[in-house]
Symmetry: C2
Subunit: 161 residues, 2 copies
């Protein structure tokens, strides 16, 4: 197998540009959210998920595990994050009535408010960092490229035999 093959020139260029891009974008968004909404980017994502769950019919809560799987966070990471966010009053934990191991999480009114406050500035930052720089065609391309990469991480079913 050709596992030791190096990156060719085009790949090198693309890779370095990719690394720099993700670093710059990540830092910009994290800094903006930390400054204007006192939360790291990861917490914003958690609030978004919980807010979406709230709008669904039913409980409006999510099990820790389901939330972690949806965000692809480790259980431990989510536990630490929720503990901190509970301290900020943005979320609450509840015991699960059907499985005593599980914990349900729900966004609070305060959390909804914090998200509503943070969203406009965050979206503006995303726009100015990313979408203002790209053509509509490039947005489509970016979506396809990322989808392909994500697909590579999905567990592949090993064929029988």
């Amino acid at each position: 197998m050709a596992r030791r093959r190096w990156l060719d020139k085009d790949e090198q260029t693309a890779w370095r540009a990719y690394l720099l891009t993700t670093q710059l974008v990540d830092e910009a968004l994290d800094r903006q959210l930390q400054r204007d909404a006192q939360m790291p980017h990861a917490y914003y994502g958690i609030l978004v998920r919980l807010d979406e769950a709230r709008r669904q019919p039913g409980e409006g809560t999510l099990r820790m595990t389901d939330l972690a799987r949806g965000l692809r966070y480790s259980q431990s990471r989510l536990t630490h994050a929720i503990t901190s966010m509970e301290g900020s009053g943005w979320v609450v934990r509840r015991d699960c009535p059907t499985d005593r191991r599980s914990q349900l999480v729900a966004i609070t009114e305060q959390g909804v408010a914090a998200l509503a406050d943070a969203a406009p500035g965050h979206v503006a930052a995303v726009r100015s960092a990313v979408f203002d720089q790209l053509t509509a065609e490039q947005v489509t391309q970016l979506g396809a490229i990322c989808a392909a990469i994500v697909r590579g991480f999905e567990p592949t079913v090993t064929p029988p035999g």
Copy 2:
């Protein structure tokens, strides 16, 4: 101005895919390097830069500031990183002969060896996570997209008047 404009459907899709992609790729590379080479991804990048400097004619060293600017790291981040890497024996600090504020950094033989050990596995991980999933055309597209985003972060000269 239309600063409050939301993300449209295509942008939403692309953005969520982008976030998931960077998270998955970052974690995969960090984990692989941590496991196989006992270094975080950021330290790998520092070693690469210092190794490139070593191949150049001249001192083969870089000032802390120049290294930080090249990698777009904060001074503080680099100081902490170099301190830790010096503890691992991968780099050394030297006083700058022409400016007593400055510190020069050089990669050691041990650092060169650590990088040489780490490189094949790392490149394989990059390949399997990213380039194996993309067509040649997509690699070109990705390079152009990232270059455009990076350009957006470059300081723009405000025109006189």
